[in-house]
Symmetry: C2
Subunit: 284 residues, 2 copies
């Protein structure tokens, strides 16, 4: 496995691989890899001959009061995990390599963005879309892999690839969970023992909400209130609870079709997100 | 020469050409071709084996009170000109082919945009950047050709390709002029006989301004005032006159380095633009 830091170097790696007829799978990450990332690498490995992993903590997607500086990083550990999972090249650029000057423009997302994480993290998805567009232009993979855990991010990236006709397939992979149901996340390391013990109740609440929907409940307000009730007992604070159409992320008081139940919950040093997708037609 | 209307069709044409080892030159236009466009096609023809011309009047770059509906169109004439100039394929998409739904996001230009045409055409360059990004993703050329006449557009597209690492070379070609100096433009057909006779004074004024700069004048205000004086006698109205650094398009009261003198002038049915670039260091 190679590690390259320069844009030109990763391009040369990919060009060389393509010239020998290999197809390219790409897994963009912010590092501090966990089994969720490993599942993305494995999916890419299964479908493609040559797997590129990028590790870049993108300043553009962090707000001024967010956790950019203390976002967890451990490159040596990431390197070992990546090698074991079958990555061919890690692209590990510095901030000046990705942003040699202030960006004179960015992608501005106007749809599916004023809900869920978008409403509490203004500009976040502009930063995500902008860096993913850059990475897709740099790596030029056949297919790129993202986790369903970041459901809004996945929806927006799918929209972006459609909107700008980027020649790549976007692949959404299921959320990987701890044994007790907590969604794997790089930010889980910031939970206290008590918080960690409590945190699986997020997924439990989502599953209960999904059960209500499956049993015929179609009121968005009712489901939100039920989820709220279940999370009241927690030691953290609800950032949002919502039930929206998926992947369009529109609010409708009467639920129908494919919907996403989504929650963001704030502990002392970590904000956790999780979601559950139910297809009302499909499952009834 | 082929004409294709579907995104998939132009992609297949380009893929087939690349597979036989051909390099791709691309000339994006809004049609109603004139000798300016022909010079772009000829430059592409000279450098590349396979030349794609796109003709698409992009609604996104027209403001609500602008001339989208009456923008001149004559596809049959364009087809003849393109064939004669050596185009291999014309990509001629409909609006629904390019924008099947409302765009859920766009490129938002924040630098080099509040001057010249950007200040009188809010959102114009967002529309330009967005459609050019789409066209570059669709066609995936080795090199794309733009006219220096639209100097701000050229600067912003060069910035875009850098900012998003789009794997393409952007080539700026010199403005093509009528014998009397008027810059070729699809909008020239809208000039009355009197306006057409008068219009070359725009280029004359720019040349005079450039002469002053070459002779040592470094005051932006003075040059602007001189240009203003020269255009006062005209039957139209000055939209802007400016002298800026190029290609960064920054305002500085003391001129130095490479600068652009630029003018936009409004006649009854046509808004004309022109510019002149002087390299103060290089020419002194």
């Amino acid at each position: 496995m190679k590690v390259v830091e320069a844009i030109e170097a990763i391009r040369n790696e990919v060009i060389a691989a393509k010239q020998t007829g290999l197809s390219i799978g790409f897994v963009p990450t912010m590092g501090y890899l966990h089994e969720g990332h490993v599942s993305l690498i494995e999916a890419a490995r299964k479908d493609h001959d040559f797997v590129v992993l990028s590790i870049f903590v993108n300043p553009l997607q962090f707000g001024p009061n967010e956790d950019l500086d203390r976002y967890p990083r451990d490159f040596q550990r990431d390197e070992q995990i990546a090698q074991k999972a079958g990555v061919d090249v890690i692209f590990y650029p510095s901030v000046p390599e990705m942003y040699p000057t202030n960006m004179p423009m960015s992608i501005h997302v106007t749809s599916g963005v004023n809900v869920l994480c978008g409403s509490s993290r203004p500009g976040h998805f502009d930063g995500v879309a902008t860096v993913v567009m850059k990475l897709l232009q740099i790596v030029q993979p056949n297919e790129a892999y993202f986790g369903q855990k970041d459901a809004q991010q996945l929806a927006i990236i799918m929209n972006m690839v459609d909107a700008f006709n980027v020649p790549v397939i976007i692949h959404g992979c299921p959320t990987v969970r701890e044994e007790d149901g907590l969604a794997k996340s790089s930010r889980n390391v910031y939970l206290t023992k008590e918080e960690r013990d409590e945190a699986p109740f997020l997924y439990e609440a989502l599953k209960e909400g999904a059960k209500l929907i499956r049993s015929g409940e179609t009121s968005r307000a009712f489901i939100r209130a039920e989820l709220e009730k279940r999370l009241e007992s927690g030691s953290g604070k609800v950032d949002y609870i919502d039930v929206l159409s998926y992947p369009s992320l529109e609010q409708s008081e009467r639920l129908s079709g494919k919907v996403i139940l989504a929650v963001a919950y704030v502990y002392k040093n970590a904000r956790l997100i999780d979601n559950y997708i139910v297809d009302i037609q499909g499952e009834k």
